[in-house]
Structures are given as structure tokens and as C-alpha cells.
Symmetry: C2
Subunit: 198 residues, 2 copies
């Protein structure tokens, strides 16, 4: 059986990654979407192991010490991380893994797993991203501007990514992502075994 691969998805806030990921998972139920661990307390309706793996700060620090995270970081006083074991289990069972993480996290994963494929989901334009962020109506202009500024900085850091997918329409982005995932399974490293076995 072919082994799964890890695909790291990064992109600015508001680019629509959540929708793209949901569509990918709906089209291919063998995909494994990595659930993050966090020290943030669960919000009403959030289920442990589904929305997050909820850990105490002590547990989180034990996991760090045991190298149980592919990447981890702090935001606003809470810790977030990608547990290694669920990713590895899924790949061993032949499932491709999607990680929806921050650029800094992608760099951590890239150092540990250079074979993980890094994909940046880009807006069709910065003006369109601003329109989407404002359209959400959930944030004041101050926050929108700070998200846009951060998006532009991260964009510069993403230039050595493997792929850039423009999320102009969800259908288009999803079909490009599926082509990328398929193409990455045609890499020689994967296929040489196959041929050498004969």
C-alpha cells in the first residue's frame, strides 16, 4: 500500500482555507485533517479530539519535552501544536494528511519533515482579501488592517513554498490542490520501490 503524504496549507486570514479544506475532505474521505492540541479551554460545543485535543499546560509541556509536536506556538497566552502521532498513524495507514497551520509552524514542520509539501493559498488580489475580511463584518477596520499587514509579511516568507494556489473560486482551488496531491504521489522516491520489486 502506498504511504500517505503530508500537505501543509498556509495562507492569510480571510483567504478561505476553511472552505477549501471542507470541500477537499468531502470529496476525499480518506484524507486526514490534523486536529491541533491546545491549552485553550473548550468553548461551548467544542468536542475534545474533534475540534481540538484539549490539554492542560502541564500536559502540553510534557508533549513538547517528549518531541510529540511537529510544530507548536503560543498565541494570546495559549499554546497550540500539531501532534505528531496522529499524523504519523494516518500516513502509515496510507492516508494523506492536511495541516492548516501558520507560516512559522510550516517552517518548523519543514525542518523536521522536508518531504512534507508546502502549499500557500493566496487570494486573487490583496484588494479582494480586504473585501473578504471586511465582508465578514466581525472585525473593526483596525483588525482588518493588521491582518492584511500580517498577510503581506507572510506572503514574502512563503516564496520558497512548493506550490501557490490562488483561491479565486473554491472549485478552482480545490481542483488544483487535488492535482498537486496526485502529482506528488508520482515522485520517483515513491515509485522506485514499486518498480524495483518486480
Amino acid at each position: 500500500m502506498r504511504k500517505g503524504k503530508t500537505f501543509i496549507l498556509c495562507g492569510p486570514s480571510g483567504v478561505g482555507k476553511g472552505t477549501v479544506v471542507a470541500r477537499l475532505l468531502a470529496q476525499d474521505p480518506t484524507l486526514y485533517f490534523s486536529v491541533s492540541a491546545t491549552t485553550r479551554p473548550p468553548r461551548p460545543g467544542e468536542v475534545d479530539g474533534v475540534h481540538y485535543h484539549f490539554l492542560t499546560r502541564e500536559q502540553f509541556e510534557e508533549w513538547i519535552a517528549a518531541d510529540e509536536f511537529l510544530e507548536h506556538a503560543q498565541f494570546v497566552g495559549n499554546c497550540y501544536g500539531t501532534p505528531r502521532k496522529y499524523v504519523d498513524d494516518a500516513m502509515e495507514r496510507g492516508r494523506d494528511v492536511l495541516l492548516d497551520i501558520e507560516i512559522q509552524g510550516a517552517e518548523q514542520v519543514h525542518r523536521k519533515r522536508p518531504e512534507a509539501v508546502r502549499i500557500y493559498i493566496a487570494p486573487p488580489s490583496w484588494a479582494e482579501l480586504e473585501r473578504r475580511l471586511v465582508g465578514r463584518g466581525t472585525e473593526d477596520m483596525e483588525k482588518v488592517r493588521s491582518r492584511l499587514e500580517r498577510g503581506r509579511q507572510e506572503f514574502a516568507a512563503a516564496k520558497d513554498f512548493d506550490y501557490f494556489v490562488i483561491n479565486d473560486t473554491v472549485e478552482h482551488a480545490v481542483s488544483e490542490l487535488r492535482a498537486i496531491m496526485r502529482a506528488e504521489h508520482c515522485r520517483p522516491a515513491e515509485r522506485l520501490d514499486m518498480i524495483d520489486r518486480y
Copy 2:
């Protein structure tokens, strides 16, 4: 308009590249299949510019001197080469280019155009390749054995190719090739311009 990319297809004699290429061209008429130049005289029914660009040896040598070939080689006393200008014209007009060439030719193109994508079309197994070569019924066992031997040697040289596509069925190989061509158009180098323009 996006610029075209060059895709180099290599693979052992008998692997079924011709059928795969014909199917690709039928599915996507924007693809440009590179027509080789040769000093071999035309056979009955062969049309200049369609099957080959037929050149005199003098012309061929002038083209070599003028760096008009992406790759060229001699086989059984005749010269064969891939003319640069048709490939470049097609790419400028946004067409992807397919080159069906030998491994040595692929190495020459790779040196001149490292951005050209190298794809090795592999048989599902060496036993299956032998079966296909014998099944043609056009060659004695001596020739079949020598083609197989050459195929195995070239296979070793193809291990640094970008992709390996197994031609188990034409449909499967073609859909993998289309995914690869699509994915290669999602490389950052191509997309950064797009984003930076906004």
C-alpha cells in the same frame, strides 16, 4: 497569459508512450508535441513538418552551429534533434510542450533548460514490458532482449527525474500526466508575478 512549460517524456521502447501522447493530445489540443528534425530521408507517406522536419546533413550541421537544437544525437548513421524555435514559439503562445525523447536527449535539455519537467514513463513491471515487446511480433528475441537491457540501464539513469508515471493502463497514465502538468503550473515562480501585479 500564462507561459507554456516543457514536459520531457522518456521511457523504454515498448512502454506505450506513443499511445499515451496521442491520448494527451486528443484531450488537450492546446498541447504542442515537438516534431523532431532528422537527416533520415522521408519514408513513403511521411510529411515534412508533420512527422519530421527533414534536413540535409549540411542544414543539420548549420542548425547545430547556430545552437538551434535543444538536444541532438546520431542513431544508425542519421541525425535527430529537437528544434528549439518551435518549442519556444509554442511556449510563448502559452502552449505546454511535450518532448518524446531519449534519456541522453533529456539530459541535454535538462542542462539547457533546468525548468523543463522530466517524466519517466515506466512499465508496470519488466516482465510486462517484455510481454509487450514480444507481443508486437515485429522483432526477434535478440532485439527484444537488447531493448530490455537498454531499458533497464536507462531506468537507472532516470532516478533523478521529477516524476515517474507507471503505464499500467493508458487512462491511468494519462490522468496522472494531466495532474502533473496542472500541478507544475502552480509553482511559485509562475504565480508570484500574478500576485505581485495586484
